[in-house]
């Protein structure tokens, strides 16, 4: 019962945060002077194309870009009705992409779940790699195993993501025959799900997952190692050792459980970093996630598209953080419910 109450409270704060984030996003998007349409109208006027101007003017009133900023925000969110049936985010109308001349929903459509997929794969990768390596490094601390993992970890932290992506693509293709670019073979695009399509996506996911996950895995490995070392130096471990517990069991029975706690708590830090990384890597590798769409939209001031992508990315991280908080409470009953008053 307590848990459900906590979960509801957590969900409410998340929604509140999301509301604040939407204001932030809207302000940031509107920071550059002018907007896509007024720029376009000026350009059309300058080149004397009168028929284009009419359409742009129509879009401007259609999406309320001629109104004051606070009204624009409320209309975009869907709190007050927009002109001519533009109903706003809350009712699932994401607006119009001026750059691509199509509804935002059509443009990001497939990209949304591909983004989720790529990030999920990366999180999975981080756990699968960091857990065994971190434990191993702690158990065999100050041996070559420890030093090698530490070295790889440092390199993973220091190499810029996008360069790692290019290198891996090049060498992966040259020596392992991994596909270059995209998230599936071109012939599957727009096709319904099939076994072959899933297979194609999986093969294409290898390099991006590796690239996005590396720095996160490196950081997590270091933290896990430090936590494990703290636990291993405690008296109860010595007692267990003196009583002749097998080394593997000794390691996994208690110290690992204790060290695991920050592991879950870390999702909150991990996820924003991963989503960031995936945006960059997607641009470099040409993945059909929302990364490239965001970049084009930002460069051309395509405000509805850019704002929607930013909102989606924020939503993704907020949900991830919430899930990590809930998991943490389930895992460790000592953590107090509700807000801690400082």
């Amino acid at each position: 019962m307590m848990f459900i109450r906590y979960a509801v409270w957590r969900l409410l704060t998340m929604l509140l945060t999301l509301a604040v984030v939407s204001v932030l996003v809207f302000i940031i998007i509107n920071l550059p002077p002018g907007d896509y349409l007024s720029n376009q109208i000026a350009e059309l006027r300058a080149t004397g194309q009168a028929e284009g101007v009419a359409k742009a003017e129509f879009l401007r009133t259609e999406y309320a870009l001629d109104r004051p900023l606070w009204q624009q925000y409320l209309i975009w969110v869907g709190a007050i009705p927009g002109p001519q049936g533009f109903s706003g985010l809350l009712q699932g109308d994401f607006g119009w992409s001026f750059e691509f001349d199509a509804p935002v929903a059509d443009i990001v459509g497939d990209a949304l779940w591909l983004t989720v997929l790529v990030n999920l794969a990366a999180v999975l990768f981080v756990y699968l790699v960091a857990l065994p390596l971190g434990v191993l490094a702690a158990a065999r601390s100050a041996t070559w195993v420890d030093y090698t993992t530490a070295f790889i970890g440092y390199l993973g932290l220091a190499t810029p993501n996008f360069l790692l992506a290019l290198m891996l693509f090049y060498y992966g293709n040259k020596y392992l025959g991994l596909p270059i670019g995209g998230l599936m073979n071109p012939e599957f695009e727009g096709e319904p799900m099939s076994l072959a399509k899933v297979q194609s996506i999986l093969v294409h996911l290898i390099v991006p997952t590796f690239v996005i996950g590396t720095s996160g895995a490196a950081g997590m490995m270091q933290r896990l190692r430090a936590n494990m070392l703290d636990e291993l130096s405690k008296p109860y471990v010595e007692t267990a050792m003196a009583k002749g517990l097998a080394p593997a069991k000794l390691l996994t029975k208690y110290p690992l459980r204790m060290a695991f706690n920050p592991f879950v708590a870390d999702i909150g830090n991990l996820l924003p970093a991963m989503v960031s990384g995936s945006v960059l890597v997607s641009v470099v590798l040409g993945l059909q996630t929302i990364g490239p769409a965001l970049l084009t939209a930002l460069k051309s001031q395509d405000q509805f598209l850019a704002a929607f992508v930013l909102m989606f990315v924020a939503l993704l991280t907020l949900i991830g953080t919430m899930v990590s908080d809930l998991l943490l409470v389930l895992l460790d009953p000592r953590i107090r419910y509700g807000a801690r008053e400082g």
Binding site: V21, Y154, L157, P160, P272
Partner: protein
Amino acid sequence: MSNLPDGRFIDDAPYDPNVDLSALDRTDMDAPNWVLVWRKFKKHRLGLLSGIFLFLAYLAIPFAGFFSPYTPNERSADYLYHPPQAIRFWHEDEFIGPFVYPTEAFADLENYRWTYTTDTTRPMPLQFFCNKSEYNLFGFIRSERHLFCAPEGATIFIFGSDRLGRDVFSRISYGAQLSLTVGLIGITVSFILGIGFGAIAGYFGGWIDWVVNRAIEILRSLPELPLWLALSAAVPSNWGPVSVFFIISIILGLLDWPGLARAVRSKFLSLREEEYVRAAEMMGAKPGRVIRRHLLPNFMSHLIASATLSIPAMILGETALSFLGLGLRAPAVSWGVMLNDAQNLASIEIYPWTAIPMLPIIIVVLAFNFLGDGLRDSLDPYSD
């Protein structure tokens, strides 16, 4: 140890009744705190080495023009995509000092690229302290003196040249000026904001703490890069390179402070209950003075260590932004701007040397990490 007849145990070790009771338990703890920290830090070899390297690197920044044979935007139109050239010392088994072999360009019309042949019969010695193209020492002293430059009729591209025939080595050393300082400015911004907000929230508590905490939570839950992208997309395109550079560093710092503020806040929450704080308050110290004179010095060293660890993130951030074309823009030279040229697979395959700027990035980021780790480990000299 010996056993007395009445069953008591007694230590046999000699006992000196005149021992100085005020002597230190550990004789190595006989110096001020910073000396102890320095002693411990010296033992951290990797950290020390990284520290020295970074110190020298920052020291060399104003002299970038002197160390590089070319100026960053100087084009050698006859030498596009020139592969790296080695500086040699022996010609036909005879030592004749540092020299290069002249090269000549041929258009490979089959593959549409330039190929270069090396003429190994004519060694051309390098010139030292020579007068070549003009640059500004320290940014304002005009000078023409270079440490070394190419002999007449030959080139010296240690790391090759890029698509416009500009020397990659010279551009890397000029690029260090921006790429290395971006982190410093960013961390200053983040330091001011982080300590400011963290201190106010931790010291006063109450609703101020609540507001700051929510702000920290919101900012921390947002992915950095998309926000950086959005903010830098808002930088007007008609601004000069210098203002763009400053605004980008500030943007990098603006999103970094929450982590620092959180650390400061939690520390303040526990420290403000200490007796010396109450004493200072009772003697009439204003909050500003208590914070600055009594509380902050307590963990300034920890803050510096954590700052050292977050500079690399900013350097990588600048690189990523410039790489995507939203950060610094040409004619400004930074490592990220240079990597913009190595954006596609073709250049990695055909002209791998255009990706060389990634080496300094990796080295500097590693060095900051090692230095930060070393500092963090040695900050508490009394432990163990």
